[in-house]
């Protein structure tokens, strides 16, 4: 809204508005092309028979497009089932992350309590740990909690790994909401939870949508943890299902490419939906 308007209304420009705009356009085109070419190649391959792909006979553009890959991708390997599992896990992880991180960020933004900053920095410090670092103890913990091979276990790990960054991002935004709004809201009889869900979170939409997008993306794409914790075929998530197309001796390249296209579509949708708020979410979240 007014924030994004302020962000786009910077007329003088770093280079002047028209300065070298042709050269810049060409360079921008090259960057964009390199970014999407491998993905366009994937789409193109998904319409060509596995036999052609396997012996590198497939062209950049399919000469005789076939849709059979999509049918076999969806029906073989219970791909539809994995897709559904991933959807449930990702949405649950988003819901849980948003619930916990908004409560925590609200507490950090609005309340005073002992060791507040120390606890906050402990959260931040855990950003310094790559997500795979803890896989062994997490595996053993899940074993003890009897959550190995369960989607619930995955949801718990995915949400917790996203908490520190989410709390960091949301806190910066929540602190920007003027206290006067909150007071007048409370005068109308709203409780704390209502203040958070009806006032603060809607006003922090850029950060909330960024958190939702990052968490969804993380959970949808996550491979090593799911590979380690999940054992039974009925609990597999999409990345595991996709990797199954690639075998040691024979590889179902066609269905793999088609499955990859299907798996990428939700990510692109989520990205384009959240994209309009998302950039200001990053720039105002205290990062710059």
């Amino acid at each position: 809204m007014s924030r994004s308007a302020a962000a786009t209304a910077v007329p003088p420009g770093l280079f002047g508005i028209r300065r070298r705009s042709k050269t810049r356009l060409v360079i921008a085109l090259i960057f964009a092309a390199v970014s999407v070419l491998p993905l366009l190649y994937m789409v193109s391959l998904s319409f060509q028979p596995t036999g052609d792909i396997a012996i590198n006979e497939a062209g950049m553009i399919p000469t005789h497009p076939v849709v059979g890959n999509y049918i076999s991708a969806w029906t073989e390997n219970s791909f539809g089932h994995y897709f559904f599992n991933s959807l449930v896990v990702s949405l649950a992880a988003v819901a849980l992350t948003l619930a916990f991180s908004s409560l925590a960020a609200f507490a950090f933004a609005r309340y005073k309590f002992p060791l507040k900053e120390v606890i906050f920095y402990l959260f931040l410090a855990s950003l310094a740990v790559p997500s795979l670092e803890l896989i062994i103890p997490q595996f053993l913990l899940m074993d003890r909690l009897r959550l190995l091979d369960s989607l619930t276990g995955l949801v718990l790990i995915y949400s917790t790994s996203n908490l520190p960054f989410s709390i960091f991002l949301l806190r910066g935004f929540f602190e920007g909401v003027p206290r006067e709004y909150e007071e007048s809201f409370r005068l109308d009889g709203a409780g704390t939870l209502r203040v958070l869900t009806r006032l603060i979170m809607p006003l922090s939409l850029p950060a909330v949508s960024a958190v939702a997008m990052f968490t969804f993306n993380f959970a949808w794409d996550e491979y090593p943890i799911a590979l380690t914790l999940i054992n039974s075929p009925s609990h597999r998530t999409l990345p595991i299902g996709l990797a199954l197309f690639i075998g040691a001796h024979t590889t179902a390249w066609g269905p793999f490419m088609a499955g990859s296209v299907i798996a990428t579509v939700p990510l692109v949708i989520v990205y384009f939906v959240s994209q309009r708020w998302f950039r200001s979410g990053i720039s105002l979240g205290g990062i710059r």
Partner: protein, 273 residues
């Protein structure tokens, strides 16, 4: 919840690393003190893996930052279709590791793969490089994928940061006849400093934890020569069930990486003053 799934595992990891830990119920796990750690010092594969992880950081992080900043500078001002180009440049970041790893593996496949065919066009003869089966070409593909997938992330953060550069000062400097290079050195880069620190620290952490594309494309081969720390630790834990040794590797790694991040932030902060 956070305490249970992140804080507790950190300590548990150190704990395990002092034992020869057995996953099977009922088996006793003898306390072995520091011996897992002393074994690290004599393990030749660890040396290769640590070297490869380090090399991955040293090569991919600066390239990602430079390309990301360059693309952000190109797209910061109005340009026809700017929003569209921005969206496209960010797309590799949201793609799935499993998918892009295999697509890159296919592009760089031996024989008539896309990369080889492309190089053949320029070489004038048929190029037949078996990319993923050799140490250095394998590493190169791993780096290339990391860079390709990472540039969009630093791009988007630098793009947001460039909005905060004081344009009046840049304009005034330009009017006074300052060269573009000088403007970048004295005005633009300094006002991006906190973003640069942020991107650098997080990219180093991310790159040091490189795992997925190595695991999926080369699995550390041939003969462990593209192994990185995490693929090696993972293999030790879940293939050879050597949980304690893997936990020692991970613990040592966490201590080194954490200290490095602290030092990195301190040094860069000091430069600021």
């Amino acid at each position: 919840m956070y305490a249970a799934f992140t804080v507790y595992p950190i300590f548990r990891q150190f704990d395990i690393s002092f034992f020869t830990w057995h996953i099977f119920p009922g088996a006793t796990s003898p306390f072995v003190g520091w011996s897992n750690y002393s074994f690290i010092l004599h393990d030749p594969v660890i040396r290769t893996a640590a070297f490869n992880s380090l090399l991955y950081v040293v090569i991919t992080v600066p390239v990602q930052m430079a390309l990301g900043l360059f693309a952000a500078a190109i797209l910061t001002d109005r340009l026809p279709g700017a929003t569209f180009w921005r969206a496209l440049i960010f797309i590799p970041v949201i793609t799935s590791w499993v998918i892009v790893s295999y697509i890159f593996a296919y592009i760089f496949s031996a024989g008539d793969g896309l990369a080889n065919s492309f190089l053949s066009l320029f070489a004038g003869h048929a190029v037949r490089i078996d990319w993923l089966a050799q140490t250095w070409t394998g590493n190169a593909v791993i780096w290339l994928l990391g860079i390709w997938k990472g540039v969009g992330w630093s791009f988007i953060i630098f793009l947001a940061a460039l909005d905060g550069v004081p344009r009046e000062i840049v304009e005034a400097g330009r009017v006074d006849g300052a060269s573009e290079r000088r403007l970048w050195r004295t005005v633009i880069i300094p006002s991006l400093r906190s973003s640069i620190v942020f991107v650098l620290v997080l990219l180093v952490i991310g790159a040091a934890g490189v795992f997925q594309q190595v695991y999926l494309m080369t699995a550390g081969g041939p003969y462990n020569s593209t192994q990185v720390l995490f693929t090696y630790a993972y293999q030790q834990a879940f293939q050879f069930l050597n949980f304690s040794y893997a936990a020692s590797i991970a613990s040592l790694f966490a201590v080194v990486l954490f200290s490095f991040s602290v030092v990195e932030i301190q040094v860069l902060r000091r430069h600021e003053n």
